[in-house]
């Protein structure tokens, strides 16, 4: 079974601060997806990273896929209250399994 561990589990910061969320595994993933889930709603895709070492930017969010494709990070610059939510990473294993493996999530709260 491929496991994805996210850290930290919880993060409460002030508006304007920077933060990094990590998604780690001992397994190799062919691609990795990041989702954000707001209270009362389902997760929504933010980005997919495919190539080892790949960096993708989405406004103030920067996503990186590790060179070995076992880990990923999400960095938020100048966090805003609208960034509040549960951030989930989901890995696509090399086994060809036809479903994603989701991490346990990082719950972020940005205080105004």
């Amino acid at each position: 079974t491929q496991l994805l561990k996210q850290s930290p589990q919880f993060l409460s910061i002030q508006e304007g601060e920077n933060l990094t969320v990590y998604c780690n595994s001992s397994s190799v993933f062919s691609s990795l997806q990041w989702y954000r889930q707001e209270p009362g709603e389902g997760p929504v895709l933010l980005v997919t990273v495919v190539t080892g070492g790949e960096v993708k930017k989405l406004k103030r969010l920067t996503f990186q896929f590790g060179d070995a494709r076992k880990d990923s990070s999400l960095h938020i610059t100048a966090a805003q209250p609208g960034d509040t939510g549960l951030y989930l990473c989901a890995g696509d294993g090399d086994t060809g399994r036809r479903a994603l493996t989701f991490g346990s999530g990082t719950r972020l709260q940005v205080q105004p």
């Binding site: 895709l45 989901a90 479903a99 989701f102």
Partner: protein, 116 residues
């Protein structure tokens, strides 16, 4: 666009009762999934389907059943509800495994189920 629609949004069941959670999608996705999300946790895969007539177990299938008679619908059935099945249930759909990787999933807004 409706996307993925789940009904009901909320439900309270008594122990031992049965019910069906409905999920329908209008994106012509072949793949559909059922997850449960316990408070403060990530998603655990219950069952998934890669097309009409085909279903496979996920990580936590015990106590649940599914069927996939059409591309659009993927209902989840609880036969004998137990308190451990209190959770939020999410249905999702996607284009599945294409180009060597799993395509992004589109989620419904969930069904909040309490079993007392």
């Amino acid at each position: 666009n409706a996307g993925v629609t789940q009904t009901p949004k909320f439900r309270i069941l008594k122990i031992g009762q049965s019910m069906t959670l409905q999920c329908t999608q209008d994106m012509n996705h072949n793949y559909m999934y059922w997850y449960r999300q316990d408070p403060g946790m990530g998603l655990k895969l219950i069952y998934y389907s890669v097309g009409a007539g085909i279903t496979d177990k996920g990580e936590v299938p015990n106590g649940y059943n599914v069927s996939r008679s059409t591309t659009e619908d993927f209902p989840l059935r609880l036969e004998l509800a137990a308190p451990s099945q209190t959770s939020v249930y999410f249905c999702a759909s996607s284009y599945g495994f294409q180009g060597g990787s799993n395509q992004p999933q589109h989620f419904g807004d969930g069904t909040r189920l309490s079993i007392l």
